[in-house]
Symmetry: C2
Subunit: 400 residues, 2 copies
């Protein structure tokens, strides 16, 4: 069995870290000069490892193995959040490269804009599975600068370049290695997470309309306080969800916006962004039902009117049992007792690729759980163990 | 008994309305050219009514009655909120002018910046009662433009002009007529409110510190969600306050700020501006005690740390019983059954003057409760009734 060259892997990772370096992290927003430099760097590395390297019209970098199959696909993304970490995305790309370097039958992909700099989610992986229209690209804009995606692509030299599609029947499955971006492994003293699935995010906007009034001149009986109605609704949701959720469900009120949000004015309007995540469809549906009933109950009790709107109802992406088993076997062989099965609470390209292929993910610990920040890091030993387990698992799966 | 000339009163009001006219309202920010024009207009009117008119170093316009006492003081403010109503403040000033016009022994005052364009509260009335230091003025800035108050005063021609103080022993009391700025009179079909006191505002900042984390990667058990702790605390406050409040207490959460306020990030910090208002000190103190205990309880239950800081603990200003009785008698004589005793939920110069003199206020209805908006208005009949009752009450009180 081929053994991954962890020294070359770490050298590649550290070389990539120099491109767009920011403090101990990197700044490589999608299609920026730094990002394009990293894509060209990857193409050269892929060629060095004997793959046919190309970049398509959405910026996906692809390395095609020249030999016979069965093949696996592996990779992640190479752009970063702004002034963020060196491993998020890069780890999965360079990990896949390490498999190619030792001759495994792997195609390597760096999917464009997993980090969502542009206003449409997962354009790179969605494009390669045939789930991204030209019209959607025409409407996409950079969330920070407002630059149209078409303009950014043209500036990056990608105008008119065709977009590639996955070759049907070529792959047995897709492996993505990634940092955990949480503290579950670290807190439990574990070194690897075998991902059972990628949770779906169900995101809602709740708008509550009341009546803006003077906080001195309006008696309690007269008020229609939208902020208070929001507070009571959110407290009720948090009381109900623990009775209805799954073992690993999470729910979050990330944003509350009161209007006008002034000390002496009764809020006339409140807007809440609330989401929950789970890996099981029936849990997601049960919680959505409860949320709708709680809004209905709010409208029975309160003198404000609450409306709920679903912004996003993803489908959970379950990982492939045979791929999970391959990772479990490899993890147990190289790090006995130091791994755990866990869902991914964050979104990843693997959930998109799951539309076409069996997928699995492997997590390595994030020091202090830090991610989307330049201080993001992982112990070198954990990185090396991760890529070794990835290589071992890929071979077990291909042989299975 | 002298009868107020309601025709002249309405003409004066409408003349003043032309200065800084904005739609059906006015725009006269403190010390603006429009505001200074209104102050000079008032001085001319005061002189026309036989008073000695002056303007002092903070912009207070004063009209001194030349005859013997006992005297009353009456007035309000003449500047407006930005693009706001024509009656807020102006009504009380022109009402006082109407009393002077028929020869009543009244000194008329327009206190500067009751509307708080500058960063210190009630500078005009505080100055005249000796509660405003030069140092405080030195530090005051326009909240909108940042212009130092000293610079604005110099531009208005008031640099180096001395500030006046109320003459000790001269006044029996202070009357302020004002629009209600609420809907209590209108909803009850009443035409006059005899103000029993001006509530105190007790304003608090509650800061809750948790831990900012990824909404996907962080399990419910690991979280320290500052937004959720704020929601639960505010729901508990709203459940407790009805059991502890007074008959007319009001409490308001005007502002909630989550940090970073993003859909997929667990809030690491929440800041809440919470206030309550009442006319009775023991109610205020009881509620403050409860609020502190609820924060303490939050810190026992939650994994976030809440701190509370009092931003403002005003003293309620009770109106003078003899002055209230004079207004009640006048209201019952001129509008039997069409008046009510009520507290003022908003702050007014009268609460500052109450440090030195017995005070009372008279409210007339606000159409639709609208105020601090150019659409603010009151029926002409109600304005005329208000000033007639003011004149009648002043004479009853002087004779009492």
């Amino acid at each position: 069995m081929a053994i991954v060259d962890t020294g070359a892997f770490l050298r590649d990772l550290n070389e990539l870290r120099q491109i767009g370096k920011f403090k101990t992290g990197v700044h490589r927003p999608t299609y920026s000069p730094q990002d394009m430099e990293s894509r060209r760097w990857l193409m050269a590395k892929l060629a060095e490892c004997g793959l046919d390297a190309s970049m398509d019209g959405i910026g996906n970098v692809f390395g095609r193995h020249r030999g016979t199959g069965p093949h696996i696909l592996s990779g992640s993304h190479i752009e970063s959040q702004n002034e963020a970490g060196w491993l998020d995305g890069a780890l999965g790309v360079v990990g896949a490269l390490a498999l190619a370097r030792v001759g495994l039958p792997v195609d390597v992909c760096a999917f464009a804009d997993e980090e969502g700099h542009f206003s449409i989610g997962f354009p790179g992986s969605r494009s390669i599975v045939g789930d991204l229209s030209d019209a959607e690209m025409d409407g996409a804009k950079d969330r920070t600068t407002g630059t149209p995606m078409r303009e950014a692509l043209a500036k990056a030299g990608l105008a008119g370049v065709p977009r590639m599609a996955l070759e049907e029947g070529r792959y047995k499955g897709f492996f993505e290695m990634h940092i955990e971006q949480g503290t579950q492994l670290e807190r439990a003293g574990l070194r690897l997470g075998v991902v059972t699935g990628i949770v779906a995010i169900w995101q809602f906007r709740i708008v509550i309309e009341g009546q803006q009034d003077h906080a001195g001149g309006t008696t309690m009986a007269e008020r229609r306080d939208a902020g208070l109605a929001a507070v009571r609704l959110l407290a009720a949701v948090d009381a109900a969800f623990p009775l209805l959720c799954g073992e690993r469900t999470v729910w979050t009120t990330g944003r509350i916006t009161l209007d006008p949000n002034a000390p002496s004015i009764i809020p006339g309007r409140a807007e809440v962004l609330f989401q929950f995540r789970d890996i099981e469809m029936d849990v997601l549906e049960r919680l959505q039902g409860a949320l709708k009933r709680l809004v209905q109950e709010s409208n029975r009790r309160e003198r404000c009117v609450a409306r709920i709107e679903a912004l996003r109802l993803d489908t959970p992406a379950l990982c492939d049992p045979a791929m999970i088993a391959a990772l479990e076997g490899a993890a147990q062989a190289l790090a006995p007792g130091a791994w755990v099965k866990m869902p991914s609470g964050a979104g990843h390209d693997a959930q998109i690729i799951a539309q076409k292929l069996p997928v699995v993910m492997l997590f390595v610990p994030s020091i202090g759980g830090i991610s989307h920040h330049w201080a993001e890091d992982t112990k070198e030993d954990d990185l090396a163990l991760g890529v070794s387990v990835l290589g071992e698992a890929a071979q077990r799966f291909l042989a299975g």
